[in-house]
């Protein structure tokens, strides 16, 4: 509401809506299956195992990142592969 140029309500965006959306996204993920959060270490171990069947890689060479969104979640796995010349090469998927 604005009378004579004075504003009676705070002009800042309502942050409560942001809070609600953040919670909804977070809780939707947490409620599905609390155990699902614990699969990542297992997933990492399995991926390493599969790759090790074919080549030598270091346990430190795997980097897993997750980005959760309201519409989708993405899992980014970076694996440093040993280069033929010794330097690390990078495989991204």
């Amino acid at each position: 509401m604005s009378i004579f140029g004075f504003q009676f309500r705070p002009r800042k965006a309502a942050t409560a809506q942001t809070a609600k959306e953040r919670l909804q996204i977070l809780l939707a993920h947490e409620r599905i299956d609390t155990k699902a959060q614990d699969i990542l270490p297992l997933l990492q171990r399995d991926i390493l195992e599969v790759i090790r069947r074919h080549m030598q890689i270091d346990g430190d060479a795997v980097d897993i990142r997750m980005e959760r969104d309201d519409e989708r979640s993405s899992l980014e796995i970076n694996i440093e592969l040993p280069d033929a010349r010794g330097g690390p090469a990078r495989l991204q998927r």
Binding site: R11, R22, D38, L40, R45, D63, M66, D69
Partner: protein
């Protein structure tokens, strides 16, 4: 030499996580390499206050149990390059924490960071005791309210007896600072609330700062921004001054008035 600082209180809901987020962001803003660790296993919340809840993959417990490397679990802040968050597990309980595990992770963090901020859970059980065990300094968050002051006193007793510094001969005791939060000058003036002097007289430890009651704190938590990185506010400034004192600077103590504007201010100023 890196410093381990525990943010603790005994009582819940006094502002430990808000303080951990604000102090760690404030230190990082001043160029200090800082990591903030959530010790509240099973009730993860620091990630929400720091705004990185969607980026948690591995956590403190995964690192302790050897399921992930520390660098995989550390979440780099997107706003400040010197700042990292180590989230806790939402699915385990405090029994997953071990003194040896915590020590190993802290030692590894010491190699990279100047400040390690440990956000303690409420209470005085295992989680809270492990959060304080390796601390060099403590920030005891206290509300000017009887139960909070009593619990702070109890926590000060634990800092002086159940920490590595207390147990090992020849070590200086944990340096404890009081941080008064939710301080309402109007209510203090009306004699409805304990004054700073009252609280300090009872606790008998140096004061790190006084954070005024402020709507900016809720606003910042709504959007997942540590208060010192959000829009300027008296609470944010008070935290920045506390950070300066924590780093050893002499900053004069000012008691900020509340940020709840009166009718007159609301009519003639547009900011809330």
């Amino acid at each position: 030499m890196s410093k381990i600082i525990v943010v603790t209180s005994g009582k819940g809901g006094v502002g430990k996580t808000t303080t951990s987020a604000a102090i760690s962001a404030g230190l990082a803003k001043r160029g200090q390499k800082t990591v903030v660790i959530d010790f509240d296993v099973g009730l993860r919340n620091l990630d929400l206050i720091m705004g990185c809840e969607r980026r948690v993959v591995f956590d403190f417990i995964n690192v302790i149990q050897g399921d992930a490397k520390l660098k995989q679990a550390l979440i780099k802040d997107k706003r400040l390059e010197n700042l990292a968050v180590l989230p806790t597990s939402q699915t385990r309980d405090k029994d997953a924490l071990t003194r040896e595990g915590v020590e190993k992770v802290l030692n590894e963090l010491r190699e990279e960071f100047d400040y390690i901020i440990c956000d303690s859970p409420a209470g005085i059980e295992k989680g809270a005791q492990l959060a304080m065990y390796f601390a060099d300094e403590a920030i005891v968050v206290t509300n000017p309210e009887v139960s909070s002051v009593r619990d702070s006193d109890r926590v000060l007793g634990l800092l002086n007896s159940r920490t590595r510094r207390a147990e090992q001969a020849g070590m200086e005791p944990v340096k404890a600072h009081a941080l008064l939060t939710r301080y309402d000058t109007a209510r203090v003036a009306r004699g409805e609330m304990l004054t700073v002097e009252d609280v300090l007289e009872i606790l008998a430890i140096p004061l790190l700062g006084i954070i005024p009651e402020s709507p900016a704190v809720l606003r910042a938590s709504n959007v997942g921004t540590p208060i010192v990185l959000d829009e300027p506010s008296k609470a944010g400034t008070a935290y920045e001054e506390a950070v300066a004192r924590l780093m050893g600077e002499q900053v004069e103590l000012r008691i900020a008035t509340n940020e709840r504007p009166g009718l007159f201010q609301r009519l003639f100023k547009r900011s809330a």
